[in-house]
Amino acid sequence: MAKSVVEQLRQRFGNALLETADWRGDEVAVIRREELVSICRWLKETPELALNFLMDICGVDYPERSQRFEVVYHCYSLATGRRIRLKVRVSESDPVVPTVTGVWIGADWFERECYDLFGIKFAGHPNLKRLLTYEEFEGHALRRDYPRNKRQKIPTPDPLIS
């Protein structure tokens, strides 16, 4: 079998990798935020990797960490069937991650969802609006410190055609 994706990443972007894991073929790389877009582009455009399908982007909140939030990118290759998971860590005071909509257009709504529920901003996103909740919604619902019983103001409908 060819070298693992993490192995190839390390050769190409050694300095950008903070942590890696490869557990039973389940590959994870924690990477520097600054290198995110170039790594993503490389993963997608390198022919033998061809990670051309961004399956999901998740936010994770670890309140006990200094880098409180983690954004997780699940990539899949329709050509080879391999996967890799990229993680980017950001702090609460500077929760900004560059957008990957330029690499995978499908990242658009994933990033909006992540912004909506965790308050992580995606720099350069073409339309960074809330996706699941609504404009008047206060706070970010999946943050660990979001009050469980908080009741929101009933919204005015967002015009679908404007």
């Binding site: 909740t133 609504y134 619902a141 469980r148 908080k150």
Partner: protein, 173 residues
């Protein structure tokens, strides 16, 4: 023996309101606002086995302007709430509302950031049906309760005395 013999004078005195309400209660036109599985159960209520046309409420309308009974069936999220309110406002008076199922009545187990905790936060409700989802019999019971309320004969907030196990035993033997 015809009615002539019963009403020998040839006429029957009543209140107009009474007659109108008698007509109304047997010709409810429901507007289904179905957002979840309760709406699937409602299909069973409408269909032949249970058949709400036996109660005069079978003419399901999908326009609020043609309906006088709003049946809210399912979870109402905050995002859905203004839509529901708009639909209620589009219905002509007189109008009634049934909250079917735990979610519509109270938010159900969705005690979370996205869910309205009962539609009575935004619109008035005449009859609440518990259950997740309710049985079709419960929906029919709700319609009967609503009919009683419309005709003014029922006690709107009364519930029938519960049948306790010993009574069931008695009738069975």
């Amino acid at each position: 023996m015809g009615l002539q013999n019963v009403f020998a004078e040839g006429f029957l005195a009543t209140r107009l309101e009474h007659v109108v309400n008698w007509g109304r209660k047997y010709s409810l036109w429901p507007m289904p606002f179905g957002t979840a599985c309760c709406a699937i159960e409602f299909m069973g209520v409408v269909s032949s086995r249970f058949d709400i046309s036996r109660f005069g409420a079978e003419l399901v309308r999908f326009s609020p302007r043609q309906a006088d009974l709003l049946m809210v069936m399912g979870t109402i999220s905050y995002k859905q709430a203004p839509i529901l309110k708009r639909i209620w406002e589009q219905m002509c008076e007189p109008k009634w509302c049934i909250a079917m199922g735990a979610c519509a009545a109270s938010g159900g187990f969705y005690d979370n950031y996205s869910t309205l905790q009962g539609i009575d936060e935004i619109i008035p409700v005449d009859v609440y049906i518990p259950g997740c989802p309710p049985r079709p019999e419960q929906v029919m019971h709700a319609i009967v309760k609503l009919q009683e309320k419309i005709s003014g004969t029922g006690r709107p907030f009364s519930i029938p005395p519960p049948i306790i196990a010993t009574e069931i035993k008695k009738t069975a033997t």
